[in-house]
């Protein structure tokens, strides 16, 4: 399946899980829903099975709005969003509190997708506890969100989707509060998540070093309204330093950084 923008991607041969075609998004205005500000403009983006892609851009350029549109939370005002048959999408919000329900314990928050789907309470709790134990987070199972640090809450939000893996996981600055040790672990979890060739991850970040460490492909977003200004394949760069350099070079060009 070809990329609608005509850009070669490292996973062209893999099934396309999610594809945006000329996707545009207006924020609904109270009095005139069709004439709100344009926050995403004609974005073409394809997520293939097995890849991790990154959306890099400055504050307020529309990365989050684009991600919410990809998640299906916001309806595009123009263009199309194609989801493969049976493809499920999960999302981690940049607002830490929005990911967890404050009245549920860590284990119950991780088990929430199963509970919403109508699964047995005890079974879903047991499976959530097993996932937390596997991730070394068993001590968070019985604690409520307000008893956790921001980083621990972000880990729980990720644990939810690792316990109930969707085909596409969208992460909006999902580890801004994690320490460097946890970040390295999270990179590993995400690589494992995609390693089977069935799933894809799309990350939003404005941290070049962070993205270069984990993504296969980076889309450089400019805006508002958000548009893909450039795209770079990082799989061909052998070392982390080369990946960072390549992404920095691309970012300097797009964002006119001296």
């Amino acid at each position: 399946m070809s990329n609608p923008r005509g850009v070669e991607t490292p996973r062209e041969g893999e099934p396309c899980l999610l594809r945006a075609e000329q996707l545009s998004l207006r924020l609904a205005a109270a009095r005139a829903p069709q004439s709100g500000p344009l926050v995403v403009s004609a974005v073409d983006l394809a997520l293939h099975a097995g890849e991790i892609i990154g959306l890099l851009g400055p504050n307020g350029c529309g990365k989050t709005s684009l991600l919410r549109a990809l998640a299906g939370v916001l309806q595009p005002s123009a263009g199309k969003l194609h989801r493969g048959a049976g493809v499920t999408v999960g999302m981690i919000s940049q607002h830490v509190g929005a990911n967890l329900l404050p009245w549920l314990t860590g284990a119950d928050n991780v088990a929430l997708p199963q509970r919403v789907a109508g699964c047995n309470l005890h079974r879903s709790r047991r499976e959530a506890a097993e996932t937390l134990a596997t991730l070394g987070l068993a001590h968070l199972a019985d604690r409520f969100p307000h008893q956790l640090s921001g980083g621990q809450q972000q880990l729980l939000a990720l644990a939810r989707w690792l316990a109930n893996p969707p085909h596409v996981l969208l992460i909006d600055e999902g580890w801004s509060m994690l320490d460097f040790v946890q970040r390295e672990r999270v990179y590993g979890y995400l690589r494992d998540f995609c390693a089977g060739g069935q799933r894809a991850v799309c990350l939003v970040s404005h941290n070049v070093g962070e993205l270069a460490g984990v993504v296969d492909r980076a889309c450089l977003i400019s805006g508002p309204p958000a548009t893909i200004a450039d795209e770079i394949d990082l799989t061909q760069r052998a070392t982390h330093a080369e990946r960072v350099d390549a992404l920095w070079e691309c970012a300097r060009h797009v964002y006119a950084i001296a």
Partner: protein, 263 residues
């Protein structure tokens, strides 16, 4: 001093204040500042209460009142909660119900007794209908506001999890609004109790504690009338304490509004 001891001390101060009020009452009547013909001695009232507690009529009256109150509260609060949650999750229900419920709530429930008397007739059914309406009107706004806030806060997560409408209500809206709904139910329980007692005085015939107070006052048996009134205070306090306990348990369990741990 530990938290538990401090709480016990504060509760004891609250009970002591009731004792102080009774002592002041006793003093002003004994010293003649207020005539015992207008206000009986509290010791006499307590003695009458002890005697009344041994009569079947006292318990029959309380059974009648609490039965009507329980039915009115259950029906009214159930309806108020259902409408409140509906208004919380549905913009259309919100727009339809808010002005209607606000309009009805502005009418004092007691003003509806003459209407109920004409439409249904005197007795427990009329009292129950007005009591349940009052209960529903008082539980609705707090529940609707809390459900709306909870729905708005968690709608995106529910959408990402592809929650159906019933699942959205069950897993996201209801738990988020539960504390406020319980607090509204607590107010509604007290309002329904007051409305039921007033109804017994106005259109209840000769049954229930409200009718008993009216009857005893008309016959100038003030000590017994006050004994019923003191018992009403106790029952009202018990209802309030039960709801306070349930609400506190829920808050402790959910910790949704408790804030960071002090430890």
């Amino acid at each position: 001093m530990g938290m538990r001891k401090a709480r016990l001390r504060d509760s004891l101060i609250g009970v002591l204040l009731i004792g102080v009020l009774l002592a002041i009452w006793e003093t002003v009547v004994r010293t003649g500042w207020i005539s015992p013909l207008a206000l009986p001695l509290p010791t006499g009232v307590v003695g009458s209460a002890a005697e009344l507690a041994l009569t079947a009529e006292f318990w029959r009256n309380w059974g009648q009142t609490l039965g009507v109150w329980g039915a009115a509260f259950a029906a009214g609060t159930g309806a108020g909660l259902a409408l409140g949650f509906a208004a919380g999750v549905s913009e259309r229900a919100w727009l339809i119900l808010l002005p209607l419920m606000g309009y009805l709530r502005a009418i004092p429930p007691i003003a509806l007794f003459p209407v109920a008397l004409v439409a249904i007739g005197p007795g427990a059914l009329s009292i129950g209908v007005v009591g349940s309406l009052a209960s529903a009107l008082y539980v609705f706004p707090g529940t609707a506001d809390a459900a709306r806030e909870s729905a708005s806060r968690h709608r995106e997560l529910a959408a990402i999890l592809s929650a159906s409408k019933p699942a959205f209500l069950r897993h996201f809206v209801a738990p988020g609004a539960a504390v406020q709904a319980l607090a509204s139910s607590r107010v509604s329980a007290t309002v329904a109790f007051a409305v039921c007692v007033a109804g017994e005085m106005l259109i209840g015939g000769r049954t229930g504690v409200g009718a008993a107070v009216l009857d005893l006052s008309e016959r100038y048996r003030l000590e017994e009338a006050y004994a019923y009134i003191l018992a009403m205070g106790l029952v009202g306090l018990l209802i309030d304490l039960v709801f306070a306990r349930i609400t506190r348990l829920h808050i402790v369990e959910s910790t949704a509004i408790r804030g960071p741990d002090e430890s």
